[in-house]
């Protein structure tokens, strides 16, 4: 297991390098003249030149690249053009909200999605299965902000069960919960739709496997076959898939935060966009790129923990 762990982490390093290079290309090379992008084409030539110097855009490209990488290695993601504060600090200030929301959504998604999908698989082609598949497909077709708006309309505006604007007081747990409820429900439902589908497919796959037949032949009882043999093996792909879903989840989360006006990474990104806070955007890109690479590695490692075939190769 230790060897597998080291191998996987070692693979992450060149991937990180490659990814950061892509971010650099996207941020510096693609826009042509970032200064123009930031200030717009009405800006004076002096303002443009000043900005270029300030951001180090007038230096040769390969030197910019090294500065960029060096900065990342030191944990420096740059400074916001608008507030002047370090991007990293701004991130940290909103991270608790985002993490809270993401964890709640994952919890809901897995808690509801896994059993629902397995149940549908066991009752294949009967009405629970058809209903579940319909629900799942519909959930997958909803753009996150559409479902968020619908939830907002129904539960917050019409029924007034939950607050319309979600800026909770962090020290009051009940208040936090009330503000967390609708956004978490939105993300949770979307994730449930996804997990259900995967769980069902995986369970169907496993139920058709030979070892399930062997287990039945042992006479241990249908329940034991389901829980001990089928479910456990069916969940392995679900674990990886949850890791893959993280990317979609972040996107959904951003949209949800916007709709519910909830503090978090979403608002940070939106603010940076509206105010043309270029360095903030770049810093955020670096953050997300690094996060995704590490999350992928973590998922692979978790997979190794669950499936012994991967470990003992």
């Amino acid at each position: 297991m230790g060897e597998y762990l080291l191998r996987r982490l070692a693979l992450a390093i060149p991937t990180l390098l490659l990814t950061m290079s892509m971010v650099f290309i996207l941020a510096r090379v693609v826009p042509g003249d970032p200064a123009l992008v930031i200030l717009g084409d009405q800006a004076s030539l002096e303002a443009l030149a000043a900005l270029r110097e300030k951001l180090g855009l007038d230096r040769p490209l390969h030197l910019q690249y090294f500065d960029f990488l060096a900065g990342i290695l030191q944990g420096d993601l740059g400074r916001s053009l608008v507030t002047g504060k370090s991007v990293w600090l701004e991130l940290l200030s909103v991270l608790p909200y985002t993490i809270e929301l993401t964890l709640a959504a994952i919890l809901l998604g897995v808690l509801f999605g896994v059993p629902l999908g397995a149940y549908a698989a066991v009752h294949r082609n009967q009405w629970p299965d058809t209903l579940t598949r319909l629900f799942s497909l519909t959930g997958l077709s909803f753009p996150a902000f559409v479902s968020a708006i619908l939830l907002l309309l129904v539960f917050a505006i019409e029924l007034r069960w939950f607050p319309v604007i979600s800026a909770p007081k962090m020290d009051d747990p009940l208040d936090r919960l009330r503000h967390l409820a609708l956004p978490a429900m939105n993300l949770g439902l979307l994730m449930t739709a996804y997990v259900t589908r995967v769980s069902r497919a995986s369970m169907l796959n496993v139920l058709g496997e030979d070892y399930v037949r062997t287990a039945r032949a042992k006479g241990i009882g249908a329940r034991a076959v389901l829980w001990r043999h089928a479910l456990r093996n069916a969940m392995i792909p679900v674990a990886t898939v949850v890791g893959l879903y993280l990317g979609t989840m972040i996107g959904n989360s951003v949209l949800t935060e916007i709709v519910f006006n909830r503090p978090g990474l979403g608002k940070l990104i939106l603010g940076a966009l509206n105010l043309r806070d270029y360095t903030m955007l770049q810093g955020l890109m670096v953050f997300f790129a690094g996060f995704i690479v590490l999350a992928n590695a973590a998922t692979d490692i978790a997979y190794g923990l669950i499936d012994p075939r991967v470990r003992y190769k």
Partner: protein
């Protein structure tokens, strides 16, 4: 999806299997309906989507305006239909672009192999798991929000699945005997790829295309919602929802109509894509 089965068991009878599946037909029907509505929009509801009417602002559904009017007095139904054109256009263009470029990358990686392949694969993995919204967002932010840039940005987010689905069969096929034989006869690599490898990929690529078209439309809508979409006053579904959201307390229906439009379109395409996949690759059949 194993390439050997793709070659050995070519998807014969997929039309029949597709026809026998009721949900696939529903998906096809919805998709066709949406396309027809978009193409014939000006004739179905001949109202100018851009025409403002200061008097009739935020009016609810009526005979003259079956879906009401927005905050500028523009007819919502007309805007809805025209927005469909834009959204579909952007979605389909981006998928086409992603299909061409992505498949090419995948085939190249699979065929060339070695470190090139390893590098491309690890990049593709990151691209695939990167939040599509954020990726599209960054690209549009850097390039500016025009239709062309939107297509480019969304195409970028859709590259990876095409590259993946093109790469796997290429790897499996390139070592097969008949390719070796072709090389021995002096055929160029390009010819081998075009004549022998590409035909085996087509069905898989089409399935991926249909499944990701839905994603493309969702991404475009999300980007428009954030404000990075096609600039107003051109209507897009996402943009209409954005405007509806701003007026949500006064006129909630403004956000619901385009939301439903997106939902129905995406659902139809998903059903279609699922149906195609089930028909072409029956191992995963849900019978």
């Amino acid at each position: 999806m194993s390439a050997t089965t793709a070659v050995a068991q070519a998807p014969q009878g997929w039309v029949r299997r597709f026809r026998n599946n009721p949900t696939s037909l529903v998906g096809l029907a919805i998709f066709l309906a949406v396309i027809l509505a978009a193409v014939f929009a000006p004739w179905i509801w001949p109202v100018d989507p851009l025409e403002q009417d200061v008097v009739e602002r935020l009016v609810g559904p009526s005979l003259a305006h079956p879906l009401g009017t927005d905050s500028f007095g523009r007819d919502v139904l007309a805007r809805l239909l025209h927005a469909g054109r834009i959204s579909l256009l952007i979605g389909i263009s981006s998928i086409a672009l992603a299909m061409l470029v992505g498949s090419a990358i995948g085939i190249a990686a699979g065929y060339i192999g070695g470190w090139f392949d390893a590098m491309v694969t690890s990049l593709l993995d990151v691209l695939l798991s990167f939040p599509t919204l954020l990726l599209g967002l960054m690209v549009v932010a850097m390039l500016g929000s025009s239709v062309e840039n939107l297509v480019l940005a969304i195409a970028l987010t859709e590259l990876a699945p095409f590259a993946r689905v093109a790469r796997a069969p290429t790897i499996a096929l390139k070592n097969r005997d008949f390719i070796e034989a072709g090389r021995a006869l002096g055929f160029s690599d390009l010819r081998l790829v075009v004549v022998h490898i590409i035909p085996n990929l087509i069905s898989d690529v089409i399935v991926v295309a249909s499944l990701w078209l839905a994603a493309a439309i969702r991404t475009e809508a999300s980007l428009s919602f954030i404000g990075l979409g096609v600039k107003p006053p051109t209507p897009t579904w996402g943009g209409m929802i954005r405007e509806g959201f701003e007026n949500i307390l006064d006129a909630p229906w403004l956000a619901v109509a385009p939301g439903l439009a997106i939902l129905i379109t995406v659902l139809g395409i998903n059903l279609l894509g699922d149906g195609l996949r089930d028909a072409i690759d029956p191992k995963v059949r849900n019978d």
